[in-house]
């Protein structure tokens, strides 16, 4: 028996960057580790992971059944793993029809909740999915927002309820009852030592300053972009219109996001944006 650390975030909010950092910190080899073999993967909503641990196939189950199984799947994994597990997740933290939390308290060690300005999330997500900015804004402002809920064909990822951007944040940070540490993407950029040390502490790992600065350097945007150029990155969808590691900065929305779309996001998410310093 061991415990799971959830690396939770709305998509395109620095989750992969945190995983690259964590992989470098944990392994501490002094050279950049392969971005195609990261800790924290696969994603918690991976369909193959579900099939392997559920004992029945997701493609034989309704969406509600799948959600009913998911907490049991994570309990099974926790029961069998020999080391603490780090698992990326983009779902909002909701309950299933049994009233069970999707990410159960009894197998959770910690949650790192990565948050990023939704205006920048929109720009990044649109490039990542090869979608229009307007489509992404629709998703971000949809109280019932979800991804991979295509009834035509179950995709490699299970259906995931994202809710709206604000509701996603609230589900984890305010309502989950889990030990959550919030880390802002913007702080990972501006004050990496402080932000990543906060992650290490929350994950109950020993803080070693030299190791920390090495891991930060090895997971810098330039370092990972160079790796992606050389070897490719398996988590980049083929429909993406840009490299996965595209700009790695904050504020790109000012150049790319039409004002009307920015206004919609702000109007819908103002309270939560204000709370985390984005307004």
């Amino acid at each position: 028996m061991n415990f799971i650390n959830w690396l939770a975030s709305y998509p395109k909010s620095g989750n992969t960057w945190a995983r690259i950092f964590l992989t470098n910190y944990l392994n501490n080899t002094g050279r950049p580790l392969d971005i195609n073999r990261l800790e924290g993967g696969p994603i918690a909503s991976d369909r193959d992971l579900f099939d392997r641990w559920a004992g029945v196939e997701a493609s034989d189950l309704s969406f509600d059944d799948i959600d009913d199984f998911r907490p049991h799947v994570y309990r099974q994994m926790a029961l069998h793993i020999k080391h603490p597990l780090y698992l990326k997740v983009h779902d909002a933290c909701t309950r299933n029809s049994d009233g069970d939390m999707l990410f159960p308290r009894d197998v959770t060690s910690a949650v790192i909740y990565l948050i990023r300005n939704p205006l920048d999330v929109t720009v990044s997500y649109a490039h990542h999915m090869g979608r229009s900015m307007a489509q992404v804004v629709d998703l971000i402002c949809d109280m019932n927002g979800s991804v991979y809920e295509n009834p035509k064909r179950l995709s490699p990822q299970l259906p995931q309820k994202l809710l709206s951007w604000s509701a996603h944040v609230r589900s984890w940070v305010d309502d989950s009852g889990l030990p959550v540490t919030v880390v802002r993407y913007e702080d990972m950029l501006a004050q990496p030592e402080k932000a990543f040390e906060c992650i290490i502490r929350a994950l109950k790992l020993d803080v070693d300053p030299i190791r920390l600065s090495n891991a930060i350097a090895l997971s810098s945007f330039e370092a990972v972009r160079q790796q992606e150029r050389q070897t490719g990155f398996k988590e980049r969808p083929m429909r993406a219109d840009a490299p996965f590691f595209r700009q790695g900065r904050s504020g790109a929305w000012r150049e790319e996001l039409p004002q009307a779309l920015a206004d919609r996001i702000i109007e819908f998410n103002a309270d939560m944006m204000q709370r985390f310093g984005y307004l």
């Binding site: 369909r47 029945v56 493609s59 199984f69 049991h72 049994d98 035509k152 179950l154 429909r239």
Partner: protein
């Protein structure tokens, strides 16, 4: 009057109508009995438990809130207590997958999660994650005139001289509507796997090879986000791991007291059977190219890498 069927070379007597299975016209005594009856919510003496299942020596229990409870005993009996109102379609989905695989393991027949076809050189099997294209590939080979031996489950046996035989499942493929369309196959009149999905059960009675056969090759299907295909023959440890990874219900085997048998059998199969990993571009699914690549490979005489 129970129905009689033949599957994996075993005779089945069933209280539930299973149109998917081949009928058995010979009164040869049942190896497996499928019946309705009372099934407890939980086993009193469970040794191991998973997401919705429990095991004790010789017994497996599956409890699905919206479908029913299933108990599999000693490789001989499957007892089903459906929820009301009963949906025979949902029951058969789990009966003909999870429950049958437990029966096979309990009888020490290696239940492998693969699709497969029969060729002149022996059976050729395809393993891979859900969505890797197992059923689609089999359907493509059916169009080329091959017969199928499995859509997602078959049994392997190994004799004293380490000869591996394949025991075919039943004549049906589960196809998503877009795969069916790509293959020029109509989905009109086909039963859906689940009412909300565009995934259908497609019978393949006319293109099924029901007899046991030797095993020629196993291909592990994968995908990546670059535009090339690759085909890479596997060494013994990768072949062994491929068999373990693609065993039906492998998490239950310890509780059923079958772990040692499972490892030993996988090792014996791995040392005698050729296996290769085939990786395709994620999108689009270039089916004809993939089918060509694999067919060119298995039409050769194949020796497992040492």
């Amino acid at each position: 009057m129970p129905y009689s069927y033949k599957v994996f070379g075993l005779s089945v007597e069933s209280s539930i109508l299973c149109p998917e299975l081949l009928q058995n016209d010979v009164a040869d005594g049942a190896d497996i009995v499928i019946r309705f009856g009372e099934v407890p919510e939980a086993l009193e003496n469970a040794d191991d438990a998973g997401a919705r299942w429990q095991t004790a020596p010789g017994i497996y229990l599956l409890n699905l809130k919206r479908v029913g409870r299933f108990m599999v005993r000693a490789g001989r009996e499957i007892v089903i207590q459906p929820v009301e109102p009963m949906s025979e379609d949902s029951i058969r989905t789990f009966l003909l997958s999870t429950c049958l695989s437990i029966v096979l393991h309990q009888r020490k027949l290696f239940a492998l999660h693969v699709s497969g076809i029969h060729t002149e050189r022996g059976a050729v099997l395809f393993a891979g994650h859900s969505g890797a294209g197992k059923s689609t590939l089999v359907s493509a080979f059916l169009k080329r005139g091959f017969q199928m031996v499995s859509d997602d489950m078959l049994a392997l046996t190994v004799d004293e001289e380490d000869r591996v035989r394949v025991l075919p499942g039943f004549p049906q493929v589960k196809l998503w509507a877009d795969s069916a369309e790509a293959l020029g196959r109509s989905t009109e009149g086909l039963r859906r796997v689940l009412t909300k999905f565009d995934k259908f059960f497609a019978p393949t009675v006319d293109a099924f090879h029901p007899q046991s056969a030797s095993l020629h090759a196993i291909y592990l299907l994968g995908q990546h986000n670059s535009p090339e295909f690759s085909l890479e023959p596997l060494g013994q440890s990768d072949r062994f791991n491929g068999l373990l990874d693609n065993t039906w219900q492998k998490l239950t085997l310890a509780g059923l007291g079958l772990r040692e048998w499972h490892f030993m059998t996988a090792a014996r199969i791995a040392s005698h059977v050729y296996s290769a990993r085939v990786t395709r571009p994620q999108h689009p699914f270039r089916l004809a190219e993939m089918t060509d690549l694999i067919e060119m490979d298995f039409q050769r005489e194949l020796q497992p890498l040492v």
